[in-house]
């Protein structure tokens, strides 16, 4: 029964950590609109955490620049298990228009396993909420598999 209660908690209270790895701020603003009154993802329990130690879902936006690569890997290592990585926008998938730049070392799946990837430049807030809901499902299966 205790296990079931914890699973319920994991389903209802996923905390997000947002990492910007050289994004143009477009996706960041869409993410902000997800957690502010218009879309209010807090009603599903989503909350922005200040530090990687508190996070369950890591949201990455932007092509991985060479400056942010090392920081990204170090931050991801600090997140306690179970954790899920979600990429927002086209940049972490394919580097988008920044592909081939001398300072871009993406895409994201070179450095970690990406569980959910939300497409769009930038994706709509509805799409982000949908992706986060899928991420919660993956979080639950990861907790069960442990």
């Amino acid at each position: 029964m205790f296990k079931k209660l914890i699973e319920k908690g994991i389903e209802k209270s996923p905390w997000l950590l947002h990492i910007n790895t050289g994004s143009c701020n477009g996706c960041d603003i869409e993410l902000v609109s997800v957690i502010t009154p218009r879309y209010d993802a807090e009603r599903m329990g989503f909350k922005l955490a200040g530090t990687p130690r508190h996070a369950d879902i890591v949201v990455v936006s932007g092509p991985i620049t060479s400056q942010s690569k090392e920081r990204l890997v170090r931050t991801l290592a600090q997140v306690p298990d179970p954790k899920v990585v979600v990429s927002i926008g086209s940049c972490p998938r394919s580097c988008n228009v920044f592909h081939g730049s001398y300072s871009v070392e993406g895409p994201l799946d070179r450095y970690c396993d990406v569980d959910v990837s939300i497409a769009g430049c930038p994706p709509k807030p509805e799409a982000i909420i949908d992706g986060l809901a899928k991420a919660v499902e993956i979080l639950k299966t990861k907790r069960r598999g442990k």
């Binding site: 908690g9 807090e42 329990g45 200040g50 130690r53 306690p80």
Partner: protein, 321 residues
């Protein structure tokens, strides 16, 4: 034997651990819902803090390499224990677990400081620079709210003591008896400034928005909690919720109490409902309409307005009004 069982019941279930946890998590949830409704959001379900706590129990605990392991893990538990102890001393209308006066307001002042100190010790044991900034801010917060809090409690002690024997009393039972006889303390006009001062102290004590300088998420990543994860973080969040209930319940006992009804369960319900109202006035409204103050602004605010209000009440009471 029977006596021991009874005390175990008091400590573990009511009005101790289990009751505190349930009431605290409920009050924290109601507060989040109220703030959300005031910001025109739907808001999280009322059980949201409970879900957060359960989730944190199921997460991995990471202990940083530079942390002092034992202190780091013990600090949240010490805070929780002291809060549960406070809840044993606060009478709920005419219900109190001690017949004789064993503990008074002075013990409560000391015990209520311990969660803040536990936060400081836990943060400094984690060895993070963000926690260093956070604990220095927490110390400033404790310095700022302690002064008006002590003056308010002194005022109440003087008011009740004058009616009893012309002296000062700090017995909580005497305070409740006084209110049963003369009506709630807030009905005395000379006590209204003290009540406002205590309402202003509560948000800083529980670390909610205009005064959450120690746990500023955006500036210093929740300060002392920056390295905590998993169950210890969950216990810190639980401390936060219980502190909210204890402080509002203490306000109800000091200012809105009285004879109550003959049924303990009904009394508890009334106490909880009044605590929710106090939470709404002093925590939720302030949280919804203000932004975070800077460290020195908090300090200046508490040593001017709430202190002045509390002193005004103290002078009025000393003059016999």
């Amino acid at each position: 034997m029977n006596n021991i069982l009874q005390f175990l019941f008091y400590i573990l279930i009511f009005p101790g651990f289990a009751f505190c946890v349930v009431a605290g998590l409920l009050i924290a949830g109601i507060d989040r819902k109220l703030v959300a409704r005031m910001q025109k959001r739907i808001g999280p379900p009322i059980l949201q803090p409970t879900y957060d706590f359960l989730k944190l129990l199921g997460k991995e605990t990471i202990i940083p390499r530079h942390a002092a392991r034992k202190v780091y893990l013990a600090a949240p538990v010490v805070g929780l224990l002291s809060l549960v102890t406070v809840s044993l001393f606060i009478p709920i209308f005419n219900f109190s677990i001690f017949d004789k006066p064993v503990a008074d307001l002075i013990v409560i002042i000391y015990l209520l400081t311990i969660p803040g100190v536990a936060l400081i010790i836990g943060g400094s044991a984690s060895g993070s620079p963000y926690a260093g900034v956070g604990i220095s801010r927490e110390m400033v917060a404790i310095l700022s709210y302690e002064l008006p809090l002590v003056i308010v409690l002194l005022t109440i002690g003087r008011k009740v003591g004058m009616a009893l024997d012309g002296n000062i009393t700090f017995s909580l039972k005497a305070i409740v008896d006084y209110q049963a006889q003369y009506g709630p303390m807030i009905a005395q006009w000379s006590m209204i400034p003290a009540a406002i001062a205590l309402l202003l102290v509560i948000p800083c004590k529980v670390g909610s928005l205009p005064f959450d300088i120690a746990e500023a998420e955006i500036e210093i990543c929740e300060g002392p909690l920056v390295e905590y994860s998993g169950p210890p973080l969950g216990i810190f969040k639980l401390n936060h919720a219980i502190k909210m209930f204890i402080m509002t319940s203490l306000f109800v006992t000091l200012f809105l109490s009285g004879a109550g009804t003959n049924f303990v369960a009904l009394n508890v319900l009334i106490q909880f409902a009044l605590a929710v109202v106090v939470t709404f006035i002093s925590i939720s409204v302030l949280k919804a309409i203000t932004a975070r103050l800077r460290v020195e602004q908090t300090f200046k605010f508490y040593w001017t307005y709430p202190t002045a209000l509390a002193l005004l009440s103290l002078v009025l009471v000393w003059l016999g009004l």
